[in-house]
């Protein structure tokens, strides 16, 4: 039973990633694309977890934490770039 459930869940996650890729391609503004890419990263976490369940292997579970941290840092950097125009500000005396 569990194998079928996991394959169905993998199919659902793949379909949702396909929908998010449609939004990345078509999105009118840059913020749409950033939101969709962030959600793609979070979906990738789900796919990694399901894949490790399907393989009965715990070797990929470090990747989950890694993808989460990288998606968060990338989104914060992009938000700062969109708002201020630069990511690391270089002002010695403010």
């Amino acid at each position: 039973m569990l194998e079928v459930v996991i394959w169905i869940a993998l199919l659902c996650c793949s379909l949702s990633m396909l929908g998010l890729i449609y939004r990345v391609i078509k999105g009118p503004s840059t913020a749409d694309r950033v939101i969709a890419l962030d959600s793609i990263g979070v979906n990738l976490i789900a796919i990694t977890a399901l894949f490790s369940v399907a393989n009965k292997s715990t070797a990929f579970l470090d990747i989950i934490l890694l993808i989460g941290i990288l998606a968060f840092i990338g989104t914060v950097a992009f938000a700062k770039y969109l708002e201020r125009g630069e990511i690391i500000e270089n002002e010695p005396n403010r």
Binding site: C12, C13, A49, I64
Partner: protein, 120 residues
């Protein structure tokens, strides 16, 4: 016992996958950036947390392996995903992305123009 655990894992994983699918539908169909961000950040976070809880129960029950990195992973996801949604929304508003035509209320605009001095 094993059957109950099986059904629990199946429920968590299916609910998570369904919520991921719902989030993708929301991101495709909703009209502007803010509503899309609403769908994406909330539904995707909850769905992926469900899937991670299902994975944790699976490894704990069947392989007898307590994986603390999964717990760290979903605590981290629960803390950071709404923050990244908030940051993207704020940067979209400040870089001038328009709201939907039919949205009726924009408190931040009144605050920025000085018509409303109450702190938000």
């Amino acid at each position: 016992m094993s059957l109950i655990v099986n059904f629990l894992i199946a429920f968590f994983i299916l609910a998570g996958a369904f919520l991921c699918l719902i989030a993708a539908f929301g991101v495709i169909r909703l009209p502007d950036v803010y509503t899309r961000n609403h769908a994406a950040s909330k539904a995707t976070t909850l769905g992926v947390m469900f899937i991670l809880v299902g994975t944790f129960i699976y490894f704990y029950a069947f392989l007898d392996h307590f994986n603390s990195r999964l717990i760290l992973g979903f605590v981290f996801l629960f803390m950071t995903s709404p923050i990244s949604g908030h940051l993207i929304n704020r940067s979209a508003y400040n870089s001038g992305v328009k709201l939907w035509d039919k949205s009726v209320r924009d408190d931040l605009k009144a605050y920025n123009e000085g018509r409303d001095k109450s702190p938000l």
